[in-house]
Every structure is written in structure tokens, then in C-alpha cells.
Subunit: 240 residues, 6 copies
């Protein structure tokens, strides 16, 4: 039995609350159990230099964590004067995931910045951020459509993410912090609504794992992201 | 008539919601209208070097703003690699305000860090942060009392803060962003529950102002902080 | 009796020595007793981006302290790689004070940078810096007039600053370091030559203070800045 | 046909040259075709604070690239004043890979730092770094054994890494820079000598990919890392 | 004829004013014509880690320049967040020069920091800094003797410095800024009072120079530093 | 007898290997005994702002050292977030040396960056870097000639560098690390192929040295750089 008492293929309660910021073109407070991430999508025009006059846009992401999002208080990155390697790794991942379902030629020379700030953390912050960040991004595109700035959404699919891991020898879905700390292996999967793989990151925490075990994790992830895709669609439908 | 349509001595709706973070020893989400600040108080033991073995504790504050807390997205300070002068000025102010009502010899060699993170800004973030930060701090001391770590709260009074300004020639209470942008002068007042002055910061934005005008601002602030002190007391009573 | 032996409303000997730098368009070495600040005003043309092509100019200030300006040697900020929160707070204050008496539309698209470097510190460095910085700025405008670059000075008034504090229960003017370290409260006042208030910063160091006490401090400050305004006028008249 | 003309399952010529640094306890210049990485393993005793007095050691890695390792010269990270997100991501990966085959309790309270510096880059620098870094690390442990400091090597297996990708619809092994730039998907696999999976990082560059395609990549990687493991064993045998 | 109109072997008027800072254990305002450098020597006890418990002390130097010390205003290094290469080069030179005449085992485990801050620059700031820094250092040792902390001064000789250059084909002593900007070659010489060479730094600005020319420069430097040594001795004698 | 057993005027074995980087316009791996420096010259067009539209080009250098180039591992400068004073001093020296033999008006508005990275250090890294950097630079100019971008090489002479020192009372050429650590004085000389002096840097390590001793060092340096100039010419001839 896993520590959380959930079934091996059971997600935590997932809530996607939209329109949580009065200024952002898109916003979503995503909760995976006790993990809460505030995502906003901001539309701007100052593209990175290498994209100016290219006719295409760009989607990028930034990730942060409030100092007391965690069990013991961490340092504030702004005070330390630099972002950790972990932070940079995560925000690069979020950006790649969102761009994988966006036609960058479909919204003009605009820069969309998705900010994912963890208000409270209990494992799985990067996967929650991708899942909620997609909702904020989709809203921002809807906003551009509503303004008549673009004719149709440049999104080619939806995208969500989930972590899976080996707890003992058992593959389990959506690890919380306690489970993650004790897992033999941990993998994050980013999948599209239609089941395509966007990103796979698997890491052996204690011992190398087998190909068969990895296959089990991927099967769980397919199931989990399917459920997340439905929740995303519902949240976006309701937000209209 | 001021832009917000409020009476000159009318606060925005103020809500103090406690227990909003499952890890922090004290926490408060404070809302002054559309200004929302998440405050947590974290109890630790690693005092700054100059206080070690002094027998006393310390209270300090950090302040931050999510990039899209504002109408247009600002830079993330962690990404820029340093905190702005404004951020440092505000967090120093919050720390001084909270220490002014704390007996630093009354809770052992502990460090209490109060984090004030602005989720959404519409003027008055520093005064909201002090007002909510006090609530989080009081809860943290209640937590230490509950554990038996201290016999009584080291707080000597409550503390709250409010901004006032001259809109045209009229003194008004609790400026929102639009009002602040158009004010002739702007002042932040930090007062205790019993009416003592902890900090006064008045700045002429466009033209120098008179002593008489400044007196009017202070009178408004006394009224406003009195109301805030009652809201703080109610929130702490309910949180027990 | 206050530690310095001065009367409660007595300034330290104040000396404003002009033309102390052979390159700067304006310069003033200001001494408030043992506090010595070297102020220069430098005229340039590279405005901050948000002011380019606006038709107006800008006045900004930077503040620094030599490492051994103080009783024990402090770190060199350039070596530490960042300016402290205190430094940034002070230089922002100086800039606001000088802009409050300057018509920014009256000297073209020029940037005037006022550097205030503390050679020796004995309390009141920020108020000395504002007082001397004004003299350097006025000289720089006189220099532009002398060149025929502007028809008249864009200064709308003079500005000076002084600290006051509660030593025990007594309000005293112009605190030196020893007095400041033992004061119950400390306030810095920036006033124009005609008595308008530009900035007020009052802080309770040990205990909150009363409105009546604050009024006494302001009365002292009005007297002190009146005397400083006369010294500024005399120094500028002599420098012509 | 892939651009390099190699068979789909063909590695570039791989050379592992040991003892290339006269000071390091272990060293290896690894070449995967035109990708050249200089790896050194340095044995020290200053463990990170959280491991002191824990009885165990630690293995960490740092990664860098000479400015002209690439086709056009890049910035020097030391001159820019910070390591890029990419650099941090890669050095964290190398460290995790090496620790996955090391019994951290088997070499005392020592810190082994593996430096991987890219002298010339043509794709696959991180996988070459892991492959060569392992050889340097194994030599460092052999050095400690030779000195009598440890009784046996704490390595539990060997570890190597290879990239695979989808070129068009075809899975190919060991992408060079041209192939990588044009791949539909790119994955890095870190496997042990006995075939266990240590780390998997797969990214869709242009379009999401299928589970079947991912399986093909993994099959290629198993083959490639098997060959690398043999080359590592041969280099270490020869170095004795 | 050189631009300054001085004879080729003529120093600018040199003034060494001691006791210019009320806190520092030694201080000297040195003027070489329009070049003014404020030097302080501060005695402390926090040695660099590699010298703790070694029984010896250390002398180090820091160098800075006020932003408007120069003809056009330069950036403030504290604001830019780092010291320039030039600054670091100069402060390393000053430290080496002072240590060359100090018996580091003769004043206990003390750290003496010599700060050299350029108030106004007209060429030759580094040589002025060494010349004045020596005076401040000698005073600090006299202070330690006066306190009874050391029995005799650990200085083994005096040290001073001067620049020489080739103006056209002519060797000239003590270049000011205009002369330096137009020199064919520029050399800084650090010599002891008894004529030993501590440091030589010669640089061809436009064309390589000959050994014969270099010999002429050294001859001038011997003459110049001899005069400086006498001025140093006189200033120290007077300061007693 | 000096520690290395070499004759007092004997260089270490010097090898200049060209074309060691497949991308750089010029490259040279220079070995002075166990000191190995990889030099590349990169041709670009983004001149520093102060040279744009000036009609001339610029040559600049950067210097770095791999962390384990030295006997015990040093910090990685990119990880520490800044270049040391020593690094900056050396790269400024290399740049000056190369510019001294380059007609900056002879290759258009191009920026040539010479990177000198120390793979292994045993004393004399800066002199090796200048010697090898010249070869890389000469190749880059030959490359521009080969492309028809310039009609003839803008080099006016060759340049090389060597260190000399006083070991005991004896002047010796080309110090290795052991010799350098025990030298009484240490000097670096940069000379042109025709014997002109470009740069002289002499430092007394323990005691001031005499003019006569300095003359001996310079005589050795003339001999050493003459030999280096011949090796440079041979390497460049062979590389054609």
C-alpha cells in the first residue's frame, strides 16, 4: 500500500480554477492535492532578438516557488541573486512542453510568458505547472481571438503532465512528496491530449530500473494525462 | 470625488484569511480590495551572526511580487539576479514595523521570517503586507505558546499600516493604484493598536505639501489603522 | 542634556564648500560636524529609455560611503558586488528630494547625476547629502545657463534636509552618531526653502511615539532647514 | 539515409584516452567523432555541509564548454558571470548518473568532483561527458585503492550514455550536430553496463512522438551503451 | 617640450597630508598635482582563512574611484555590481608593493586593509595610491606601537611609486593624464627608499620600445622615487 | 643548480601545434613543458560600441583555466560567478600584447577574439598564452587573406613572451611552477620578433631586487623570445 492510501493508478484530487488574476490574459490556479501552483499567461510584443522580424511568435515559461511553499522555509531566489539549477531546468521543461502544442507561426510576432509560481508544494510541482500553464495559455489565445487579433487558436493539441514512480517494486501514479522521497525511481511524463509523447524524464533514485518497469510507468502516465486532459477541457469550457 | 467612488475616509473591503498555508507556523492572505498579499511567518533557529548567544531573537521580513501581479508583467527579480531598491526598501520597512511591537527578548534565540508575497497588486501592497504580516506573526507566537516553547506572547501591541494621500487638495484614505498614480502626495503610516506611531513615510509626488495637509493625512491614518486593528483582532480570535 | 552638549535646537557647525572638483559641472563638500560628504553634479545626455524623446530631462542620485568612513571599517560595496538596501533607499530619497524642486521640462533632454560620497560619517549622512547635493545641482544649472544652454534655472525652490530625534523624551535637532544610536525615535525631514514638506521619514527605534512628539520634531526641522537654506544661498552666491 | 552516412545503429568512432592530466586522480579525454570532452576526477575532503559527519562520501560533476568549442564562438560563462540553465541541467545529469553506480558509503567522507570540459562540440556532449566521466571516476577509485585508502572500488556497475533520435521517421543512434538539429525527437539514455536504466530524457523537437517510436530509440540505446561499456572496460584495463 | 611644461625629470607638486580621517589608524590624502587619493589603513583581526593560526599578519589593499573623479563621469562600480579588471589589477599591485616592505611576522595575526579612493584623477592614480598608502600604513604601525601592541614597526624600508613615459622620443617623469594619453610608452615603477626595485610595469602604447629607452625611464624613476621617499619621511615625522 | 636541472638560459621543450580546432579561424595548442594552453582565434563582426563605424578593427583576448589544470583543483570561475582579478589581469595583458603587433586599421571592422584556455598548468601560463595566441591570430589573418577579405596581413611583427626569475641570486629563464614558487623575483617579458619591448612586468616576491639583476633577466628574455619567434615562424610556415 502506498503511503497516501490511494490506488496505484489514482490521481490526487485535481482542481483547475481559472480567471484568478484580474490582469493576466490567461490564468489558472491548479491544485494537485496539497500542491498549489498559480499560473498566468501574459501576452507581450518584445520578442527575443533572434526572433525579431521572423514573422513568428514565442512561448516561454518562468517558474518560482514561494519561500514557505515547502515544509521548511527555503531561501528566496531573488534574495540569493540567482535561480537554482533546478528552477532553470523546470522552467525550460515547461516552455518546451507548451511550445510542443503551439503553432508558433499562428499568432504573429508576440511573446507569451507563462509564469508558474508554487504557492504550496507537496510533490509534482513541475507537472502541475505544465497542466495549469496549458490552461492559462489556452485562455490567452482565446483572449487574442476575442480581440480579433488572431483568427483561430494556434494550439494544435492540449498538453498535460504527471509524475509516476516505483514505490518499492510497484508502479504508482502522481507521487506526493512523501512518496517521491521514498521512491526507487521517479519519472515525469508530458503527453498531449491525443496521447503523443512530448517529454519523458525518468531518473533512478536509488537503483537502476528495468525496461519493463519503465513501461509500466508510461502506461500509468497515459491513463493519468488522459484524465487531466478532460479536466483541462472542462475548465476551459466553463471559463468561456 | 475620488476615482474609486469611496468616501474620503473609507477603506477598501479588507479581508484577513488565516491558515492559508499548511506548513507555516502562521499565515494570512490579506486583501485590500484587489490588492492580495500572501503572508507567512516561519520559525527557525539560525540567527544572524551578530545575535548568536545574545539571548534574544529576531524578526525579519522579505517581500516579493509575482511578475504578473501588476497590470503589465514585470521582470522576475530572481531572473534578473537582484532585488530592486524598492523591494529592499519595503522589506526593511515591514521588518521594522513588526519588531516595533515585539519584545525581542521574549521568545528565545529564534528567528522569525515573515514572507509577504504580492499575488495581485492594486496599490498599497506594503501597508497590506504589514497588516497581514502582523497576523501571521501573532499566529506563529501562538503556535510557540501552544507548543509550550514560550509562556506568553512577546507582542506588546498590534500593528497595522495604511496609505493616505492628497487627491487634488483633498486628503483621502487607502489609495488604490489609480488614485496613487494621480495623487499630489502619498504617505504610508504604520501605527500600533493603541495609536502609537511606528513609522511615517510621506512623499510629495508633484509639489511640496503643507504641514496642515500632512496633519489631515495623519488623522485619516489614525482612523484607518484603528479599523484594521479591529479586523486583525477578529481574525486572530477566529483562528484560535 | 544631549550627549553632544548642543542646545536641543542647535545644528552642528555646517560648512558648504563649493568648486571642490575640477571636472564636475557642480560640486560641494558638505560638512555637518564630523560628517563629510562630497557631492558632484554631472550633466550628461543619455537619458533612461523611458524618457527618450519625451522633451524632458531627469535628475538622479547615487550614494556611496568609503569603507573607512565609519568607526569600524565596512565592506566596500563594489567588492561585495552589490549595493545594500540602505544605500539604495538613501539614493532613491536624494533623487526624489532634488526632483521635487526641479522643473524637469526646463533643461532639455539632459540627465543630471548627483553623486554623494561619504568621506567620513558621524550620523546624518543622507540629510547632509541632500543639502550638499542641492548646491551641486544648482551650480550645474548655473553652468548650463552660463553656457547659454538654458535661459533660466529650472529650480523652483531650494531644498535641504535634517534629522531630528527623541533623545529620552526630549526632541533634539541634527543627531550625531552617538545621539542617533541612543534615540527613541529618529526622523528625517526634507523641506523646501519656502517651508514646503518634500519628504518625511519617521521611525520609532525602541518604542512607538506620539503625535505630539512627532509635531515637536517637525517644528525643529522647520527651524533647522531654514538655517540650512540660508547657508545654501550664501554658498551659491559666493560661488558665482 | 542519415546525413552522416552512418548505419542507423552505428556509433561514431569513440576513443577513450586515459591519463591525460598529470595532476588529477583520474582523467579521460573522450572523443565521439568530432565531439571531444576532457574529463578529470579530483578527490578531496571538503564535503557539502549536509554530509559532514555522515560517514558517507559524495560524487558531483561540473560541465563547461570552451567558447570556441562550437561552430560560432559562444560567450564565456565565467565572463558572463553565470552558468546557463543548459549547463546546470547537464552537470546535474552527469552527477546523478555517476552516483547511480557508486556506493556512497564505500569511500569514506570524500568528495569526488568530476569536471567535464568540452574542447570541441559536434552533438552529444552530455552523453560523451558521462561516458568519459565514468572512466575518470573509476581511475580515481583505483587510485584510492592503490594508496590503500579503500579496500575495494565502491562502483557497483559501469555507466555510459548515448543519444538517439528520430531522423524523419527513422530511429538513429548517436546524433551528431547536423543530425540533432534536424531530428523530430531527441532522447538521451544513461544505462549501466548490465543494462539497467539510470536516466531517460526524451524530447519532441517538432512533433510529439509515439510510444512505439520511443521503444525503438531505447532499443538502439541499449545496443549503443553496450558497446560503450566494452570500450570503457578496455580503456580501464589498459590504464592499469 | 612636454604638454605640462615641466622639465623632463620634474615631479608635479606632491603633498602628503596625514590624519585626514578621524577613525582610521592611519590616513593620508596624497596629491600629485590634480590627482588626489584618500588613503586609510584599518587594523583588524579577521585574517583570510589560509592565514589563521599561522602566527603572521597580512596587508591588503582596495582601490576605488569616485564616479566623477574623471573628466567625464564613469560608472559607479558598486552600482554595476563588479569591480573592473583595471581596479582589481591596481589593488593587487598596491597590496604587493606594501607587503614588499613589511615583515609579515612582525605584527601578530592582524589584517591591515589599506583603502585608496581616488577623489580626483589626472593620471598616476596607482602610483599616488602606493605613495600615500605607505604613509597610512606606517601610521597604523606607529599606532600599534603607541598602544604597546607591537614593540617595533615591521616596516623594513619605505616604498613609493612613480610613472614615467616616452613622450615622443623623450623620457619624462610623472605623466599627467594628457601626457599619458599621448605617450609612446608608459611604465610604473615601485621602488624602496633604499633604491631596490619592487615592481616594474612597462607597456608600449603605440610601438614597441627599445631597451635603451627603458633604461632611461628607470633612471628617471629612481630620481623621482628618491624625492617621494623624502616627502614620505617628512610627512611621517611631522605627524608624530 | 635550478630545480628543473635545466641550464639557466634553457627553455623547456616548446611545441606549437596548429589546426587543433575544426571551427576556429586560427588555433594552436602550445606546450611549454607541462604547461598546455589551447588558443583559438575567432573572427567576428560585433565590435565594442566605441569602435563601431570607426573603420578599424579590434583584437581582444580571454583567458581561463580548467579547474584541474593545477595540482589541487581550483574553483570553476563560471560557477563562482566571476573571473578573478588574476584572470582579468592576464587576459588584459594578452590582448595588449597582440594588439601591439597588429595594425588595427588593416582588417576592416572586425573583432578577433583570442581565447586562451589552460588545460594543464606548470608555471608560465600567461607567457605560453601570448606565444600560442600569436600563432592562432596569425592563422586567422591568413584565413582572411585566403578568403580575399584582406589583401595582406595586418601583423607588423611577431610577438612572444617568457618569464624569467631570480632563483637564489641566479637569473634563470622560463620558470616552471616549482621554480616560480621559490624565486626571489619573477618577471614576464613580452617582446617582438625584432626585439622591441612590448611589456615588462617584474615583481619582487620576497625582497626588492637590484637594477643589475633586472638587466640580467631582460638579457635572458631577449634570448628566450628570440627562440620562441623562430618556433612561431616554423609552426606558421608548416601550417600553410
Amino acid at each position: 500500500m502506498r503511503p497516501s492510501g490511494r490506488a496505484n493508478d489514482e490521481l490526487r484530487p485535481v482542481v483547475l480554477e481559472t480567471n484568478v488574476n484580474r490582469y493576466a490574459e490567461g490564468s489558472c490556479l491548479v491544485r494537485f492535492g496539497h500542491t498549489h501552483v498559480l499560473c498566468t499567461a501574459s501576452v507581450g510584443t518584445s520578442l527575443p532578438a533572434w526572433l525579431r522580424n521572423s514573422g513568428q511568435g514565442w512561448v516561454t515559461a518562468e517558474y518560482g516557488m514561494l519561500p514557505r511553499a515547502t515544509h521548511s522555509r527555503g531561501d528566496r531566489e531573488a534574495a540569493r541573486g540567482k535561480q537554482s539549477g533546478r528552477t532553470q531546468e523546470i522552467q525550460r521543461l515547461i516552455g518546451r512542453a507548451l511550445r510542443a502544442v503551439t503553432n508558433l507561426e499562428g499568432f504573429g510576432e508576440r511573446l507569451i510568458r507563462v509564469d508558474c509560481d508554487v504557492l504550496q508544494a507537496d510533490g509534482g510541482t513541475r507537472t502541475a505547472a505544465i497542466t495549469g500553464g496549458y490552461v492559462a495559455l489556452a485562455q490567452a489565445f482565446a483572449h487574442l481571438q476575442g480581440m480579433g487579433a488572431i483568427a483561430k487558436s494556434p494550439l494544435t493539441d492540449s498538453v498535460s503532465a504527471i509524475s509516476c514512480g516505483l514505490y518499492g517494486d510497484t508502479a504508482v501514479l502522481d507521487l506526493d512528496y512523501d512518496e517521491d522521497s521514498n521512491a526507487q525511481a521517479d519519472a515525469n511524463f508530458v503527453l498531449t491530449g491525443s496521447g503523443g509523447i512530448v517529454e519523458v524524464q525518468g531518473t533512478a533514485e536509488k537503483h537502476p530500473f528495468s525496461r519493463a518497469a519503465f513501461d509500466e510507468l508510461l502506461t500509468l502516465a497515459e491513463k493519468g494525462t488522459q484524465a487531466l486532459a478532460e479536466l483541462q477541457a472542462a475548465a476551459l469550457a466553463e471559463a468561456k
